[in-house]
Symmetry: D2
Subunit: 323 residues, 4 copies
């Protein structure tokens, strides 16, 4: 096994496109307990209480829901340079952005399915204003006493025509590692889970049943206890937020989950648990078509919409759902 | 064993005297997640989400902290009459009040230690306004997404010169039953726990170490999970609320607890768990002086202030604490 | 409202018929954490750690699964006499049994659907042997460190041709109270929840979709935290026990639930939460056909088998499940 | 910031010396839910269900309690060579061991305080026998249904005359990073927390109040939920295991903890929670003498024995405890 220089540190933030900006802001602030930390003409920036960076969510008004981009922070400025050079050598086009609320220059490019990614190094460490100062100095912000009280952005799950091609792209160009995957009987990869660190995943690609490219399946925020996932369900119920599935436990990755839809048209997961990967030579866990068909960990069959809907919504979803 | 007509249904509400009305209101509303449902000149009325009656807490501005009164609801109008007649026969003075926010005529009298009690039957069932309407029709109000999210008033713990005399008073006149007690080596009762129903207690008397009468040890609100007690501690920490003891588990009654002080000068417990009494012929559990000295269930020694402080504060507390 | 003398104290125990006695014993002992406390020729008796009586479960070998009988304890010997006289006056046939492991003379009779009930007063208080002695003297037995660690029998759910008729029977003859019910558009009662105390239910009748009488839907054991329900699901998963539904939260009664099938052919629920009824004049909560169709609290659709299967199994189940 | 090649992957296992081997084995197997996976003449090897390696605990019979050694796995064979060369260059003596149950050749050396460390790469991946096979293929072993159900070895906390010297040693020679520390007013480091990965610590050094070198403060096993820490306390209570402190929450590291003493004379922590370090340029959190004096997160004062006792026990402990 060759020694690896790990250039990518962690998933940093995601930009969601929302058709209902006010509704989305209220959802993330009141139901999830996040904090608004910046605004620009088209966008609002939010953070969860446990994040050391200024923000993990950029909500951008749009005529269609979906993901604007998602971004990884590198371990150093040199590592950022190395990644840009590697992308360049691989013939992948990209361009530099001057930065945004919370971070410095970012290099932007597309994955094979057309989603925008950014990599950057310079970041703004969050310093809480007095009214949000934490009681414990090792916590960036006070724990919110409203809503689900999410701690940090956990992962992004992207729909793609070819999850396998995107896996290879992230392995080769960003050095991410595969932790689990679903391989169908015909050998195609139906879903792949990759990670930049010891969390067992921070990005996932799932086959888009509508044969559309560039769509989002969901983003996920983490809560500390799986009891918090149940509590989040109680809160969604009272807020009238559409719960699609859960709370339940994933067989794959072992995560406790609650899937719901924010008013701006995107699926959001509230998750907890899972496992850390300590092995430097972790062997990816491969699930067969038959194993996936067994449903979730405790036997719940996955609801059909979970395999079909994405953002933005496309007409073919309705057709598939009516079958 | 004689058959018993149970006239008293349940602990209904408590009136707290507060030296900082605004602070107390903010505490119960924001940190505990309660709702303001009424105001009068001197008082503010609050409720927890699971209560079928309009309110369980009356906060009254006062120059001294402590308990104004606590009140039990009877099972019927006839039961109320029976209790008043029984009190009268026992030579206990009392008088009728016209009622208050949330309930009808109440009969008021004092326990042997001088605390005011009320018994009443007519009550106002809470009907939530649209913005607080619950998703589930078997729940009186929506679950709050702020603060500790307490479900209902659980019990009141009163300090007294002679807990045993107060126990006999409540057994004889209200038909409450003793579930657990501490009996010292000299035979005196240091603390008694009584109940009107299947909860293992709704009122407690504890020996006042300062030899003062009429004081309050604490009132308690219930949360559904003991994880919620830990979460309440996180919230108190962030709000800068003084935590006196816990979270931990009581040996006596098995309840998970968190003791903290609200800004108006009263100790408040957030509790969960415990057990129900199903046996109609329950035998009270008696703890000796030596057994109490062992501390709480998991071995934590009870902090000295817990045995000394009450509301209102008296000068002798400081003297005892300095020993 | 007339004053009520409550003669029935609580649900005491249930007899399950099992086609796999060894499997059933292993299930309740190892997966649920119960203790075997007696054996007779055909039956094995078990208890949960929090129960003051000797046992709550009688497992009887049989060629068919189902419920043998279920039993309520009265508040006194006089109350038992009153109930027997009331049953006699109502023309309900019954006979006295000499008693069984854990209790004295019991009066046996059938509900309108043909299930056997027993009422009794004399009971054997459980005294733990040294190896099972609890650390806390207010707990009857040590908390088990194996399996789900259930605290006590919670309720029994019976299938019936006419839930409404059985409701009236229990109200009139045992003094149980209705807390919630499902009333279909045609006015028939599809399900009723009744209680003998402050728990919101201890017996339920549900319409049998197979038009069979005398069957069992499930029995339920209680765990303290809803986290324990999730943990029970993890344990069932590892034991290879068939999970039918959950963990999830009931809209009706608000209970957290996990339904699974014990090896002897009976559905068992592991439950937590719910609410206590404090109001002496509680108004039953009525759910309409449309409201029930919404599924469980967090939106999960109830699995079809839940509405069809019972014990013993009947051929018509397969027919209905295949529709 | 220079790019770092991270040679050390994770804390792998620890060897405890026990004066009561049978008692220690029973403790880790029955109370913690671990599995015995190997035996040699003097030692017994155990594992927790979530560990990918064969074992994390070696219990060795001894006349004195304490730590035998603790071991880190490297990311590769080359990384192991690099670490050995670095140690050699630094003038630190060491020698190669042939390996042990569960792993291959290991290089052994001492930290400045005299504790034995080992680094190794070749490991034996755990393959569960049929009776312990997990239901989910991404889990190495079935979740135990007995005891506290610990998932993995979390960290080791060593007592030392000079925590700061040991910190520098591990930073320089193994590439561990400091996450938090206590620095007294006179500038000395009273405690340091270091990590090899994204967990915020896997090794800690604390000043030994008895001025002894080479002692152990405690080892810690991880449970998934902080509710599991409370449940572990209930289990310790029933097993008669000495609970020293907790359950509570550390201010430093935010971990939920329960400290207890295993029969063989060593302190064991059961912990949960805490936080992950995502920042590649994490700034260590420094706590002052005054900040540490505030006690634990929710205000509990640390018990004196926690600052004094270690293993093996030394006479000076008694003297310090009696002050």
């Amino acid at each position: 096994m060759p020694d690896v220089v790990r250039d990518v540190a962690h998933l940093s933030h995601v930009e969601l496109l929302t058709t209902d900006p006010d509704g989305s802001i209220a959802y993330f602030r009141d139901a999830l307990g996040m904090e608004v930390v910046g605004r620009s003409k088209e966008s609002t920036y939010l953070r969860a209480f446990g994040e050391y960076e200024r923000c993990s969510l950029k909500l951008t008004a749009s005529s269609r829901a979906g993901v604007g981009h998602f971004a990884y922070r590198t371990v150093s400025a040199e590592a950022l340079d190395r990644r840009v050079q590697a992308l360049d050598r691989a013939g992948i086009q990209g361009d530099w952005l001057n930065g945004d609320v919370g971070h410095g220059p970012a290099y932007r490019f597309r994955d094979p399915d057309g989603h925008w990614l950014e990599v950057f190094f310079e970041t703004e460490r969050y310093v809480a204003p007095p009214e949000l100062a934490p009681a414990l100095k090792n916590q960036p912000m006070r724990y919110p006493s409203r809503g689900a009280g999410v701690r940090n952005l956990d992962h992004v799950n992207l729909l793609a025509l070819n999850p396998g091609a995107n896996r290879i792209f992230l392995e080769d160009n960003l050095g991410l590692r595969l932790s689990e995957q679903i391989v169908l009987d015909d050998g195609t990869e139906a879903a792949v889970w990759l990670t930049s660190g010891q969390k067992s995943y921070d990005v996932t690609y799932t086959r888009d049943a509508t044969d559309t490219s560039g769509r989002l399946h969901h983003i996920a925020y983490f809560v500390d206890q799986r009891e918090d996932v149940l509590r989040a369900a109680d809160i969604c119920l009272e807020f009238g937020i559409e719960i699609e599935s859960g709370p339940h436990k994933h067989a794959i990755q072992q995560t406790s989950f609650l899937y719901n839809w924010e008013p701006g048209g995107n699926r959001v997961e509230i998750c907890s648990g899972g496992y850390l990967i300590f092995a430097p030579d972790h062997k990816p866990v491969v699930w067969s078509q038959a194993e996936r068909a067994k449903g979730q960990a405790w036997g719940m069959k996955t609801v059909p919409s979970f395999h079909i809907r994405g953002s933005p919504s496309v007409p073919r979803e309705a057709e598939l759902l009516s079958r």
